[in-house]
Every structure is written in structure tokens, then in C-alpha cells.
């Protein structure tokens, strides 16, 4: 029994790897001389391996069950926290840098634009350069006085055509060289700008080339009608149609016309009334052909604009008072300027003179 125990002890030590060399030698001798013991040893070894394998499998299963690695388990670890802090800092820093740079660039642009405006004004002041009406403002309650400030009155003729990019140009610190001013039509539509207030401020102290009102007077228009012209055969009615002669121009003045002219105007008026009554008596149909008195103002434009604006009064630009007469034909006003006729249309806009080329109409206006 004791020897059997010894055998098992030796086998266990051998399987566990704790056997000494002497014990190993002893065991080999025993196995060599006893085949049954050898078989027993092999069985022992095999069973021990089976036990080890069972334990390994058990441990593997345990690890598989509990050893699943979660990669984000340490998301609040030191490393992650430091990395996220660095990223946040970098973003914040770059944001402030970008903001600072953009502000700086905007300031530089504003300064440059102001310099441009000043340069432009300087070039405007130089003699020989074409004067441009300034300031350009939207049609509103803005006023400009003679000292260069904006007045309501002057706004009436400060309508400059501004194309689609007007707002852009206006906002671009008013680089006036960029404005496109067309000669015809000169004052097509009023300038519109969203920054009128800013422009008012900007241009408040700048010198302005203004228009000059030369003088004003009242004209009595010759009145014709196509109906009457058709009745040309009747000398009486024809005589009645011509109510006032063009000589009646300059009949009265507000500023400069002398007393003589006033007297002559009164005389003309009396004559006109007399003739009218006669005409009425002769032909009742021509009762609506009453003389028209038109208040005419003569203006000089710094841009040498030639044209007119006709609302309550007729404003004439670039034309001399001596050379004109006014005729109404078929309720349309015509202005005769040295043998040429141009149509006068009521409009807020400033229109150029458009001379008539229709020979028939010209003949009729001439009284033929």
C-alpha cells in the first residue's frame, strides 16, 4: 500500500512538474521494470491532462463572459478630458482670432473708403472738371440751402438716374466717380438710397454746385384747335382763334420786368378778352379755346442741361427767353424755339427738348 502511495506521489509530482531529478530517476526505474506501473503512469498523466483541460475551458468561458472590452468605458478618463479641453481651447482661440481679424479688416476698409471720398471731392473742386450735382439723395423731405446744405426745393432737380447697383455704390462710401449720369434723359428718376440719412450727414459739409434761377415770367399761349383749323375757310372764325400773339411774352415779370412791359401785357390782355368775346359771339363751339397763361422760370444748370420740367410752372433749362413762344394746339402745349417746335408735357421728371419733325403739324402750328 505504501509503495502504491509512493507511486502516485511520484506521478503527481511528475505531472505538476515539481519532481526532483532523483525522484525522476527513481520513477523511471520503477516504470522500466514494471509494465503495469507504466500503464498506470500513462493513465495518470492522461487524466491529469483531462483535468487541466477542463479547468482551462472553464476559465476561458469565464473570461469570454466577463472580459468584453468596452472601448469608451474610460471616456471621462484623464486622457479624454485633457484632449477635449485642448480641442475646446483651440476652437475658442481660433474663433476670437477670426473675429479680431475680420473687425480689423472692416475698419481698414472704412478708412480707405473715406479717403477715396475725400480724394473724389478734391478732384471735383479742381477747375475745368465737370461739375456733378451733389448730394444725391432720395426724394424725401431733405433740404439744401445755398450754403451747401440740403434744401427741399433743390431736391426737385436732383434726380439722377441710378441703375441697379445704386444701392451698392451708395453704400460703398459714395465713390461718386462710379455714378453714371446720362445726359438724355438727364433726370429720369429720383435717386433712391436706403442710406439717405448717412449720405445727408456725409455730404452736409461738402461744397455743392447748384442750379441758378435766372428769372421768371408769365407767357400767354397761343391756342389753336384742329376743329378751328378745319374751318379755315371762315376768315372770321380763324381770326377768332388767334387770341394772343407771341409778342405778349415777357408781359409781366416778378423780378426784373419793367413797368412798360406790364402795361403792354395789360393791353394785350384787354385785347385778348375783347377778341375772345367776339369769337364767342361768332362761334359758340370755340368757347373752350381760352388763352392760357403759363408761369415760366428760366434756369441755368451747372451741367448745361437743356430741357424742361412742367408741373405748376414751366422750368426751362439752357434756353434764352427772347427766342421762345408758347402755343397750345389741340390742348397740347408746344414751345417754339427759333422756327422749331417742341412738345411740352406735364411731368415731374426733367425732360429734354424733343423737336417735332412732323411737317403737317409744324405747318398747322405756324398757322398755315
Amino acid at each position: 500500500m505504501a509503495s502504491k502511495e509512493r507511486h502516485i506521489e511520484l506521478f503527481d509530482k511528475y505531472v505538476l512538474g515539481t519532481i526532483t531529478k532523483a525522484e525522476e530517476k527513481e520513477m523511471h526505474l520503477l516504470i522500466k521494470n514494471n509494465p503495469e506501473l507504466e500503464l498506470e503512469f500513462k493513465t495518470h498523466k492522461l487524466l491529469a491532462e483531462g483535468i487541466k483541460l477542463a479547468r482551462k475551458e472553464e476559465l476561458k468561458d469565464y473570461i469570454k463572459e466577463h472580459g468584453k472590452v468596452e472601448y469608451f468605458q474610460n471616456i471621462w478618463g484623464k486622457k479624454w478630458r485633457s484632449a477635449s479641453a485642448v480641442i475646446v481651447l483651440l476652437f475658442t482661440f481660433s474663433f476670437f482670432i477670426a473675429q479680431y481679424l475680420s473687425k480689423k479688416a472692416a475698419n481698414e476698409m472704412t478708412v480707405a473708403n473715406k479717403e477715396d471720398v475725400l480724394k473724389t471731392e478734391k478732384t471735383k473742386e479742381q477747375p475745368g472738371s465737370n461739375p456733378i450735382k451733389e448730394p444725391i439723395t432720395e426724394e424725401s423731405d431733405i433740404t439744401l440751402n445755398n450754403s451747401g446744405n440740403i434744401t427741399q426745393e433743390s431736391l426737385d432737380y436732383k434726380n439722377i438716374e441710378v441703375f441697379e447697383d445704386a444701392e451698392l455704390i451708395a453704400s460703398d462710401a459714395m465713390d461718386t466717380n462710379r455714378f453714371v449720369v446720362e445726359e438724355e434723359p438727364y433726370f429720369k428718376k429720383p435717386v433712391t438710397s436706403n442710406k439717405s440719412e448717412e449720405l445727408k450727414k456725409e455730404y452736409k459739409d461738402l461744397p455743392i454746385a447748384e442750379e441758378k434761377k435766372l428769372f421768371d415770367t408769365t407767357f400767354i399761349a397761343q391756342v389753336y384747335s384742329s376743329r378751328i383749323t378745319d374751318k379755315k375757310d371762315n376768315p372770321q372764325s380763324e381770326a377768332g382763334t388767334e387770341i394772343v400773339q407771341s409778342k405778349a411774352r415777357n408781359a409781366s415779370t416778378k423780378n426784373n420786368v419793367e413797368l412798360k412791359e406790364k402795361e403792354s401785357l395789360e393791353a394785350t390782355k384787354e385785347q385778348m378778352v375783347k377778341d375772345t368775346i367776339d369769337a364767342e359771339l361768332k362761334n359758340e363751339k370755340d368757347l373752350d379755346l381760352e388763352p392760357i397763361s403759363i408761369f415760366v422760370e428760366f434756369w441755368q444748370s451747372p451741367l448745361n442741361f437743356k430741357g424742361y420740367q412742367y408741373q405748376s410752372a414751366l422750368k426751362l433749362y439752357g434756353i434764352k427767353s427772347e427766342s421762345i413762344s408758347i402755343i397750345q394746339y389741340d390742348y397740347i402745349l408746344y414751345m417754339k424755339v427759333s422756327d422749331q417746335y417742341c412738345k411740352i408735357v406735364k411731368s415731374k421728371e426733367y425732360l429734354p427738348f424733343k423737336f417735332i419733325k412732323d411737317i403737317n403739324l409744324i405747318q398747322k402750328l405756324n398757322g398755315n
Binding site: H44, I51, Y62
Partner: protein, 189 residues
Amino acid sequence: MLGRSRAKDKQQLKQIQEGDKDALVSLYKDCFTTVKNLIAHQGGSETIAEDVMQDAVIAVWENCRKADFNLTSLLTTYTIAIAKNLWYKEMNKTKRMTKGNEEPHVNRMVFVPNNDAPMDMTILKDMVNSMGNTCRELLVLFYFDGLDTKTIAKKMNFANTNTVKSKKYQCFKKLQEKMTSKFNLEDFL
């Protein structure tokens, strides 16, 4: 793994030596990412990495219980080194197996589990598992964990070492009978 202290290493080693399975799992988790990256870099899959790591920590479990075990590096370094060796061993084995083929590409490598034992060993394993818990635990503690009879007596609440010895003998005899009743020894050799 960064900043892993020696103190933690010692504690973990001690826990493993005492048979704490959770310490083994912790070691597995600590080393898995490194080993997985290494294996993935050389064409292995995550499943292969898992098998290699399991074998590696079990090897650590076995080795650290030996009397002459002396750890000179970090436990993780030691475990990773074992895993590397296991992986290279398997790679060489696979290369040898695929030598006859025209395309021994590394991506086609398949990890063959470390089943040096013949297939019949699984029958033996099942026989061990079918034993009663006390016998099974006693045999495992003795033959796998290499604990001495004194420690086993203490762990399993046996009266003394002699009880452990006689109990162990009985259990072993029982297993032997089970095997010989169904199989011959030659079947396993």
C-alpha cells in the same frame, strides 16, 4: 496601461495566485487592445486576438502559481509577451500548413486553437465536468492550480491534509474507473 503602477501589478498578481478569476479578467482587459492591434496589424482578426489573449492569461494563471515564478517586468508586459509568442507560434503553424498552397497570404490565416491534445481529450474533459463538484474542484485545485494539500484543505474546509489526500485519491480513482469502463488507454494514446 499607461501609468500602471507596480503596486497594482503586485496586487493583481497576488489575486491571480489566490485563484481570483476577476483579477484574470482584469488583466485580460488591460492587455487586449494592444494584442488585438498587434494581431490586426499582421492580418489577424479580433476573434483570433480573443483566443490568443485567453490562452495567454491562462498561461499567466498557470505560471504565476509555480514556486520558481519571479516577475521582473510589469504583469501586462509579461502577458503581452506571452500573447505575442502564442500568436507567432500559431502564425508559423499556419504558414507550415499553407505551405503547399500557392497563396500563403497572411489574411487567410486562421487561428487553430491550441489543441495539442488529441480529440479524445475532450471526452476526458467532459468526464471531469460530469463529476461531482467537490471531486472536480479538488482535482482541479490540485492538478491545474498546483495548490498543495494544506492550502486545499483550508480552501475546501477539509479537516487536514490526509483527508485531502484520501479524498483526492478516491476522486482520481473514480475518474479512472469512468474512463476505463468506456475506453481503453490505447484509445487516447
